[in-house]
Each structure stands twice: as structure tokens, then as C-alpha cells.
């Protein structure tokens, strides 16, 4: 229970505390949350399911190994965001801390709720803080750019709301277990439409082509901490929703109907994102399109509804969070030191900042899925799953290996090794090194022993408790 409510409490405290203490409080708060979730999982048996009653009538909670994984990921991400932005101005803002904790609360709610209504409410709850963070701390010159993100999100939320209402009316059930037991196949076309509503909301958030155009623009205009939160954890809500809720509940007619359209969009995203990333000049834009490419692969693989693939998808989701934080941290470091992220304005940083050169290279290689990193396992098995389902699609998915090398090495080499344009560059601070080191260690640990994660989530993915 504390696990779920702590962030909400911290959010309130952050409002009340004097600004001078905000920064430290944020770091301490996220640390406490992280440890609370770690302690809680320590006594948890992966086979178990933990029901939590907060006394709410329509919103219930239950924790299984999948929820735990996502909650720990959430708390780890928030901790990392605070640690990596510790020296930035943003973390000293009271409003930011309060919103960030509120968002953490919302995310934990999404990952732990047991009722479809709760899922929807928490989903919406996470949107408010991120909107305000973008508005207060972002650099949106034109309202349109921010509006684009709103419109997309609103459209998705609306569709999901309709689907939730429809689902409730159709089944008269709202807990996860009851919805699983309800046979939606009997409703044929209706179930297809209902699933479509969820998928639209998810397609915006994953994001899937062609619902992605908000992404690059929002990522570039958002403060680095906001980009990290969005990319590393918030957008994972959609993949989680797909994996835990939509695919099992609509299993049958509706998933059959949507499978290949979604896979197709995912794979278009893989190639399309990579192609665009090749020639972009803004580091954050490159990483945004890289994200489109990587997440399209995970979404496509999830649609295959294969147990093993789902387990590996979790590994890849965690891996993507690691990569996102690392890459956007690197982009943020360059931006905060040189006031630009345009690679044509950068060059020769490696000479003046060897530590940064090393850690940026390390995270670049993690994003390239080299051996010993989680992505190596993740990419291998996700592409394999797609390949088994459809040979040509698998080969198309595999091109991510090639294109990834093209755009990532370009994004790394030009700023770091290019002709010297930046002769002054303050090397990494201790907190930045610590973040990079933690990320790399996590990636390597998962790369050598993906089993610890796949085995842990296996029960909640393989046998949804009925």
C-alpha cells in the first residue's frame, strides 16, 4: 500500500516544502520510493498475486510479477532522472517535483490497478503532470507544437474512454479477472471496435506510425528531464496496456483482426524511424526517431501473443528505458554545456572531455545491442519471433541492425570525433557518471542473465490469473 501511496504523499510534501529544499527532497523521495519497491519485491514470490484494497469502490489493486517489474522500472527511472538532473535548474523547482511525484503515483497506479476503470483514470492522471511540465519548463515557441501533443493524446484518450465504457456495458464487469473470463468473441465486430479504441490510444503513446509526429517535436522542446520521463517510462504504459490488458482480454476475433495491421505499422515505424534518423541534425530528434524504430519492433512482437516473445519484450522494454535515459542524458549534457544539440555545430568533444566520450560511447553501444547488453538478447528474440511469423517481415525488422549502426555512430562520431568546434567542455560530474555507470551495469547484467527477468515475469505473462 505504501508502495502506491508514497509518491502521492511526496507530491503533496513537495508543494509544501520551501523551494530551497526541493532538490534534495526530490532525490531522497525517489530514492525512498525505489527502495520501498525493492524491499517489497524482496518478500514477494513470483508465483503470487497480491491484492491491495485502498477502500475505493471501483478501483482495486493487485500486484503480480509483471506489475512489480514495471513499478520497479518506474521508480528506478524517476531516481535516475533526479540523479542525472541533480545539477540542472529544473530539479530545484517545486512545481516540477510536485508534478513528477504525481506522475510517479499515476504510473504506479496504471501498473498496479486491477480494474479497467482504474487503468483509465490513472492513465489520464499521468497526462496532467507531463502536460504541465512541458508547458512550464519546455521551450515551445509555437503553441501549435504543444497543441499537437495534446490533440493526439486527447484523441487517443477519448477513443479509450469510449472503449472502456463500451466494455463495461458489454460485459458488466470491470476487474481484470472478470474481464478475462468474459467471452468477447461472442460479440464479434463489437469487440473489434472496442479493441480499436484502446489501440488508438496506445498507438499515440507507443508511438506507432503515423501517430508519431508529436514525438520528435515534443522531445526536442521538452526539458531533458521531461524527455527522459516520457521516453523511458511514460510511453511504456501503452506497451504494458497492450501486453497486460488488451491482448489477453480481446484474445480471439479482435486480436486476429488487428494483429497484422499493427505489426505492419510497427515495422513501418522500424524502417521509417531509422531512415529519418540517418539525416537529422538535432541529437534529440535522432534519438526520438530511433525510439520510434525500436518501439515499433516491440509493439509488433507483442502482437504475436507468444509467451516467450512477451517475456523477451519485457527485457527489451527495460533495455529501451536504459537506452533512453542514457542517450537523452548525453544530449542534455551537450546542450547544457554548449547550448546546442545540432551535430553540425559540434565536434572534437572527445579531446576535451574523455570521460564523457567514454560513457557516451558505452551507452551508444548499448543502444546498438552489442553482446553483453540486454538489447542483444532482446533484439535477437523479437526479430526471431517476427521472422517465424512472417519471413519477409523478419528480414525487414532485421534491417534495424544496419540502420541503427548508421545513425547511432553518426550521432556519436560527429560531435565527439569531428573537426574541433568546441574546445571548452566541462567533463562529467559525479552524479552524471554514476547514472551512466548504473545504466551500463544494468544493461550488462540483463545481457548476461536475462533469465532473472524472464523467469520472474513468466508466471504473470503465461498464466493470467483467472
Amino acid at each position: 500500500m505504501a508502495l502506491i501511496l508514497l509518491p502521492l504523499v511526496f507530491s503533496l510534501i513537495a508543494w509544501l516544502l520551501p523551494s530551497a529544499q526541493t532538490r534534495l527532497f526530490g532525490l531522497i523521495g525517489t530514492t525512498i520510493n525505489l527502495f520501498a519497491s525493492l524491499i517489497s519485491v524482496y518478500g514477494f514470490d513470483a508465483q503470487d498475486q497480491l491484492f491491495i484494497d485502498l477502500g475505493l469502490r471501483y478501483v482495486h489493486f493487485s500486484l503480480d510479477s509483471l506489475s512489480y517489474t514495471m513499478i520497479i522500472l518506474t521508480n528506478a527511472v524517476f531516481f535516475m532522472v533526479y540523479l542525472s538532473n541533480f545539477k540542472q535548474e529544473i530539479t530545484s523547482k517545486k512545481r516540477f517535483s510536485a508534478l513528477a511525484f504525481l506522475m510517479q503515483f499515476g504510473l504506479i497506479g496504471v501498473f498496479s490497478t486491477n480494474s479497467i476503470l482504474g487503468f483509465y483514470i490513472f492513465w489520464e492522471l499521468t497526462l496532467l503532470p507531463i502536460f504541465l511540465i512541458l508547458y512550464w519548463f519546455g521551450s515551445f515557441e509555437k503553441p501549435k507544437a504543444l497543441l499537437q501533443f495534446f490533440l493526439y493524446t486527447l484523441l487517443g484518450s477519448l477513443a479509450m474512454l469510449l472503449s472502456v465504457i463500451g466494455l463495461l456495458q458489454l460485459t458488466n464487469q470491470q476487474t481484470y479477472e472478470a474481464l478475462l473470463a468474459a467471452d468477447l468473441n461472442a460479440h464479434g465486430a463489437t469487440s473489434i471496435w472496442l479493441m480499436g479504441g484502446f489501440l488508438l490510444a496506445f498507438a499515440v503513446k507507443i508511438p506507432l506510425f503515423p501517430f508519431h509526429t508529436w514525438q520528435a517535436e515534443t522531445y526536442t522542446k521538452a526539458p531533458t528531464a521531461g524527455t527522459m520521463l516520457l521516453s523511458a517510462i511514460m510511453l511504456k504504459m501503452a506497451l504494458f496496456g497492450l501486453l497486460k490488458w488488451v491482448l489477453p482480454i480481446f484474445d480471439g476475433v479482435a486480436t486476429e483482426f488487428w494483429r497484422w495491421p499493427i505489426i505492419t505499422l510497427g515495422l513501418i515505424g522500424v524502417v521509417y524511424g531509422a531512415l529519418i534518423a540517418i539525416k537529422q541534425q538535432d541529437l534529440k530528434t535522432i534519438f526520438a526517431y530511433a525510439s520510434l524504430s525500436h518501439l515499433g519492433l516491440i509493439a509488433a512482437a507483442l502482437m504475436l501473443q507468444n509467451e516467450i516473445t512477451n517475456q523477451i519484450a519485457i527485457v527489451q522494454i527495460v533495455n529501451h528505458s536504459i537506452v533512453s535515459i542514457g542517450l537523452f542524458l548525453a544530449a542534455g549534457i551537450i546542450e547544457s554545456r554548449l547550448q546546442t544539440r545540432d551535430i553540425t555545430q559540434l565536434g572534437g568533444i572527445a579531446k576535451v572531455a574523455p570521460r564523457f566520450a567514454f560513457w557516451f560511447a558505452a551507452i551508444t553501444f548499448v543502444s546498438l545491442s552489442v553482446p553483453f547488453t540486454a538489447g542483444f538478447i532482446g533484439e535477437f528474440f523479437l526479430i526471431k519471433a517476427i521472422f517465424n511469423a512472417h519471413t519477409l517481415s523478419g528480414i525487414i525488422a532485421a534491417t534495424t541492425l544496419i540502420f541503427g549502426a548508421v545513425y547511432m555512430l553518426r550521432a556519436y562520431q560527429i560531435p565527439m570525433f569531428g573537426p574541433t568546434k568546441n574546445s571548452v567542455f566541462e567533463d562529467l560530474s559525479w552524479s552524471e557518471i554514476l547514472v551512466f555507470a548504473l545504466l551500463i551495469i544494468a544493461a550488462i547484467y540483463l545481457g548476461l542473465s536475462p533469465k532473472c527477468l524472464t523467469d520472474f515475469v513468466a508466471t504473470s505473462i503465461n498464466q493470467p490469473t483467472l
Binding site: 483514470i121 529519418i276 540517418i278 516467450i308 542483444f376 528474440f381 526479430i383
Partner: protein, 642 residues
């Protein structure tokens, strides 16, 4: 010491060297760093010899389980057999000599500790590649050596003039390797689909017990494996990264881009012999790709003037030769050439490194000449390397090349003729290189001449050892006409101890044909030697400037315009598509489309004038307000409804 412990230690030493130098290297003196790295590899070599002496069939050492799914187990397990241990001996043996050489060669380099860190990591990855007992572990090492190769090619990214070129060369290598890796990935998927395992021995047994497995599946699996091999082993069409890879420090060229990593494709094919044996069509593709590569690369080497570029094209050409052997199904013959090539090509590269070191970073042979007197040990050992690769009788290259020629003569006369041409060109460009570098007048100016020096013992010692191996390496696999009873030791050793190869024996020609073949090859090599001596030493011809070249010479110097062709056909179209999707489809079409929609929505509303008069904050306010109302209304509605 039991075998499994030996194996684990063998793998750990380079990893330990990597870790120590990587973490503490900055604080350690250069001598210590170099010694740690070299000793780590040499220790692995000693352990490998111990495994070699105790070889007994195939031993599998299972370290731990990586992933365990109902129908598929992925283990980090390793295989000790003749093939893997032989490769290990080459990697660690030649590897430790090159490490030793690097201590001297890199002594002035700022990134000394990084260099040895990467080098140890490379050795470790390469050992993983050859020692794995399944394709997954192989893929692990395969990607790992690609990464190390990238790091080491772009090692001198700080260089004032060539910094960015060096790192671009690294990127090119990485990307072209990745293209091949897609082939490997696809092959692995198909193998899992077909056999439900990635373990070599299990696949082999499944094939043995089910002869019906032929046709389409085997063709596609082996073709994909071969695509992977073309990437790593620089075959047409994925060969053009290797000459560029010469941007790396010379010991790297010797170790990675000559002796070990580039032979990974050959190792992969030999390891998968049981698959290739069922796919005769793929074998033909290999044969003709190998033939084309060996011929064209030799042609391109004819008019290169960078000492390392000549050797790079020569490596591509020699690798092509090995693939020709694989195309004939003569796996042991290919590996025999892998072995001798590792000796003499490492020797040549290190020799060129010694020359470059002594010439203070000059690589252009037009500026050299007469170095024989100034660098006697380098000269003498380079001469041996040149003779070995050119097929001068009784040196190692003579025997290993002769075996491949014999296969060709037996199977396919056309192939034999092509090989004769390629082998002749090899002798031509090698002797041209040798005479222009070491004989005649020094052409680099008096100032440079006074500074040219022979390299120190840490560099000359490896040269001498490799020279000895290049001379006597042929003894490993002497043909039948020399020692009737103990002939073809290497063939027997590999065949007996490697899964699948015990069924396959390369053809050995009869006595008379063998003799004729050898005599003919000797005549060719010796006449080229005499011609080159007359042309470059007696007549004193030197290499012309590129702009004075005509006809075929120009084509050779311009490397057949392959890079330009790839740019026009592949790189530029992709960049154009990238521009088009990024600027037109994504921004003009999709993003502006959404903008237009947003405008439309806002304008069509009656209150639009009020909305538009506000600032962003009012948009935001309404948006957030709306959302909250939404949620509140909804909760209320549900509560009432229930």
C-alpha cells in the same frame, strides 16, 4: 588440470587483462600495461597448447544457461575439439606475438592503455567466437569482434588530419559487418526453425539421422551463413571495408584484419560443414564468389602505393582463395591456408608496421626504397613473408596454395585457370612492394633518411618468430610425395577431431600430377621474382603517380571504382530517401496535416475567436480543465450507474 577448468581460465585471462588495463590502465606505467596484456594472451596460448596436447574427440563445457524456453535452450557453453583448439592456437599464438610487437610500436601513443584494453577484449571476443559450442555463442563473439574492430580502426580519432577519416573508416567497417550480421541472424532463425537447437553437435546428429533434409531449407540456411561470412571475411560484395580498415594502427591490421577476425567467415563455414554439404548450390556460389574476389582484389593490389593498402587487398584476395577451397568442400585445405596465411600475413603487416615506425609514419612506397640496409631484420623477415605468400617453393604458402590449386585442377579447370592468374598477380604485386620498399635508392629525402632506424627487439623478435613459422608452416600438411606415411598430418588431425569433417576428405592428386603442379607453380613464382627484380631493381622503375596511369593501371589504382559505385547505387539513394521521408512525408505531410487539423478544429468552433485571442496558457487551461471534468464526470457516472 581438468579440461573445463583449463578452458575457463583460457577465456578469463584476456578478459582479466581487459579489466585490469581498462580500470587501472591510466595509472599504470606503459611497460606494465603492455606486459599484462601480452602475458594474458600468452597464458591463454599456453593453456591452449595444454588442451591441444590432450585433445580427445569433442568435449562440451557448459558454463551456464542464458535462456531456457520450453522448446529452446540457449547455453553459454563451449566446445573443445580439433577445429576450435586449432583456431585458439592461432589466435593466442599469433595474438601474443602481435601484442609483444605493439609494446614497441605503440610506445609513443597517448592511448597506450586503451589500445591494449581493446586488444585484450578483441582476443576474448574472438575466443568466444571460435570456442562456442553453438551458433548463439558464436554470434555473441561475432558481434563482439565487430565492435572491437570498430574501436580499433577508429583508434586514432584524435589525429589532426585523419581523425574523422579514421572514425568514418571504423563506421564503414561496422556497418558493412552489420549487413553480414543480418545474414547470420536470419540463418540462426532458420536453423532454430529447422532443428530446434543451435548446438553444432546436435544439429550434426539430427542431420546424420535424417538424410532427407535437403533442398530449399538447407540452401537458404547456408546462403545466409555465407552472406554473414562475406561481411566478416571481406568477400564480394562486402569487401570494401577492409582496405579502409587500414586506418587502424598496424598491429590491429595484422591481428584483426589479417590473421584472425577476417578468417571468422571461413571458420563459420568449416564449422557448419554438415550444412554446406547438403547445399551444393551454395557451394557453387561460394566457389565463384571466392574466385571473383581473389581475382579482382589481386588486380586492385597491383597499383596501390600505400604499403598497407597493398597488403589489405592481398588479404582480401587470399581470403577469396580460402573460399575457393570451401567451395570445393575442401575444409581442411582452407584451414591450412588460414594457418599459413596467419603466419605470413601477420609477418608482412608487422614488417610494414616496422617500416612505418622506422619511416616516422610514412606509408607511401614511392617515398621509400633502399631500406634493406637501414632495417636489416625487417628487410630479411619481410622478404621471407613475400616469398611465402608468392609461392616460392618450400615455404609455407607454397604448400597451402598448392593444395587449393590441386582441388581446382581436380574439380574445375576454369577455376584453376583463374587461380593461376590470381596467384601470378599476387607474386607480381608482392615483389613490386618488396623491391620498391627495400631496394633501389631511398626516395624520401636526406632529412628523413638520417632518421630511419631499425625497430627495437620487442618488434623484431615477433618478426623473427613469424618468419620461422612462415618458412616451416608448410610442414604441417606436407603432401604425400614428401613423406609417404606421415603426409597430410593437418588434414588427418582436423578431420579426425572435428564433427562432420570425418566424413569429408579433400582430394589428393596422384604423384605425377602433384609434381607437375608444383613444378609449374614454382616456375611461375620464380619467373615473377626474376622479372620484378629486373624491372624494379635493375631498370630502376618506380611507381608512377596516379595521374600518369592509363588503362588497366588506372582501374587498379582506383580500385575498380567500387566505392563510387556503391555510393551511386546504395548510399546516395538511401540518403535521398531519408531526406524525402524526413522532410516531405514526416513534416510536410503528417505533421503539417495534424497542424491543419488543429487549426480546423479551433476555427470551426463558435468560440474560436475567444480561443485564438488567448495565450497558450488559456489553451492549456481549457485542455486540462476539460480533462479533469471528463474524469470527474466519468467517475460520477459509473458510480450512479452501478
Amino acid at each position: 588440470m581438468p579440461q573445463d577448468l583449463t578452458l575457463i581460465l583460457l577465456l578469463s585471462f584476456p578478459l582479466l587483462g581487459f579489466a585490469i588495463n581498462g580500470i587501472f590502465g591510466k595509472q599504470l606505467p606503459k611497460m606494465v600495461i603492455g606486459s599484462i596484456a601480452t602475458v594474458a594472451v600468452f597464458a591463454s596460448f599456453l593453456l591452449a597448447t595444454s588442451l591441444f596436447s590432450r585433445l580427445d574427440g569433442t568435449t562440451i563445457v557448459n558454463l551456464f544457461n542464458v535462456l531456457d524456453f520450453e522448446n529452446l535452450q540457449i547455453n553459454a557453453s563451449f566446445q573443445i575439439d580439433a577445429l576450435s583448439i586449432w583456431m585458439t592456437l592461432i589466435i593466442t599464438g599469433v595474438g601474443s606475438l602481435i601484442h609483444l610487437f605493439s609494446i614497441g610500436y605503440m610506445s609513443h601513443d597517448e592511448g597506450f592503455y586503451k589500445f591494449f584494453t581493446y586488444l585484450n577484449l578483441f582476443i576474448f571476443s574472438m575466443l568466444i567466437l571460435v570456442l562456442g559450442s553453438n551458433y548463439f555463442v558464436l554470434f555473441f563473439g561475432w558481434e563482439g569482434v565487430g565492435m572491437c574492430s570498430y574501436l580499433l580502426i577508429s583508434f586514432h580519432y584524435n589525429d589532426a588530419q585523419k581523425g574523422i577519416a579514421n572514425s568514418l573508416a571504423g563506421r564503414k567497417a561496422f556497418i558493412m559487418n552489420r549487413i553480414g550480421d543480418v545474414g547470420l541472424l536470419v540463418a540462426l532463425f532458420m536453423i532454430i526453425g529447422q532443428f530446434n537447437t543451435l548446438e553444432y553437435t546436435k544439429i550434426g546428429h539430427l542431420i546424420e539421422s535424417n538424410k532427407a533434409l535437403t533442398g530449399g531449407a538447407m540452401f537458404f540456411i547456408t546462403l545466409s551463413l555465407f552472406i554473414a561470412a562475406t561481411g566478416k571475411s571481406a568477400q564480394i560484395p562486402l569487401f570494401s571495408w577492409l582496405p579502409d580498415a587500414m586506418a587502424g594502427p598496424t598491429p590491429v591490421s595484422a591481428l584483426i584484419h589479417a590473421a584472425t577476425m577476417v578468417t571468422a567467415g571461413i571458420y563459420l563455414t568449416v564449422r557448419s560443414n554438415f550444412l554446406f554439404e547438403l547445399a551444393p548450390f551454395t557451394q557453387n556460389i561460394i566457389l565463384y564468389t571466392g574466385l571473383a574476389t581473389t581475382l579482382f582484389a589481386a588486380f586492385m593490389a597491383l597499383r596501390q602505393n600505400d604499403i598497407k593498402k597493398v597488403l589489405a587487398y592481398s588479404t582480401v584476395s587470399q581470403l577469396g582463395l580460402m573460399f575457393v577451397a570451401l567451395g570445393f568442400g575442401a575444409y581442411t585445405v582452407a584451414l591450412f591456408h588460414v594457418t599459413t596465411h596467419a603466419f605470413f600475413k601477420a609477418l608482412l603487416f608487422l614488417g610494414s608496421g616496422s617500416v612505418i615506425h622506422g619511416m616516422h609514419e610514412e606509408q607511401d612506397i614511392r617515398k621509400m626504397g633502399g631500406l634493406a640496409k637501414l632495417m636489416p631484420i625487417t628487410h630479411f623477415t619481410f622478404l621471407i613473408g613475400t616469398m611465402a605468400i608468392s609461392g616460392i617453393p618450400f615455404l609455407s604458402g607454397f604448400f597451402s596454395k598448392d593444395e587449393i590449386m590441386a582441388q581446382a585442377l581436380h574439380h574445375n579447370t576454369f577455376a584453376y585457370i583463374v587461380l593461376v592468374i590470381a596467384v601470378t598477380m599476387t607474386a607480381v604485386y608482392m615483389f613490386r612492394l618488396y623491391f620498391l620498399t627495400f631496394h633501389g635508392e631511398f626516395r624520401g629525402g636526406d632529412q628523413l633518411k638520417s632518421k630511419v632506424h631499425e625497430s627495437g627487439p620487442s618488434m623484431t623478435l615477433p618478426l623473427i618468430i613469424l618468419a620461422i613459422l612462415s618458412i616451416f608452416g608448410g610442414l604441417l600438411n606436407l603432401p604425400g610425395l614428401f613423406f609417404k606415411n606421415s603426409a597430410h598430418w593437418f588434414d588427418h588431425f582436423l578431420s579426425a577431431g572435428t564433427f562432420g569433417l570425418n566424413h569429408i576428405h579433400p582430394v589428393h592428386l596422384d604423384f605425377a600430377t602433384s609434381i607437375q603442379l608444383m613444378i609449374f607453380a614454382s616456375i611461375v613464382a620464380l619467373s615473377v621474382l626474376i622479372w620484378a627484380y629486373l624491372n624494379y631493381v635493375k631498370k630502376g622503375n618506380i611507381a608512377k603517380d596516379d595521374k600518369d596511369l592509363n588503362g588497366w593501371e588506372r582501374l587498379s589504382a582506383a580500385k575498380l571504382f567500387v566505392d563510387e559505385l556503391y555510393n551511386v547505387l546504395i548510399v546516395n539513394p538511401i540518403l535521398a530517401i531519408s531526406d524525402f521521408t524526413g522532410k516531405i512525408i514526416d513534416i510536410k505531410l503528417l505533421r503539417n496535416g495534424v497542424y491543419a487539423l488543429a487549426d480546423g478544429v479551433l476555427n470551426s468552433a463558435n468560440i474560436s475567436r475567444k480561443w485564438q485571442s488567448g495565450f497558450l496558457s488559456s489553451y492549456l487551461f481549457w485542455m486540462v480543465f476539460g480533462l479533469i471534468i471528463f474524469v470527474a464526470y466519468y467517475i460520477l457516472k459509473i458510480s450512479v450507474w452501478h
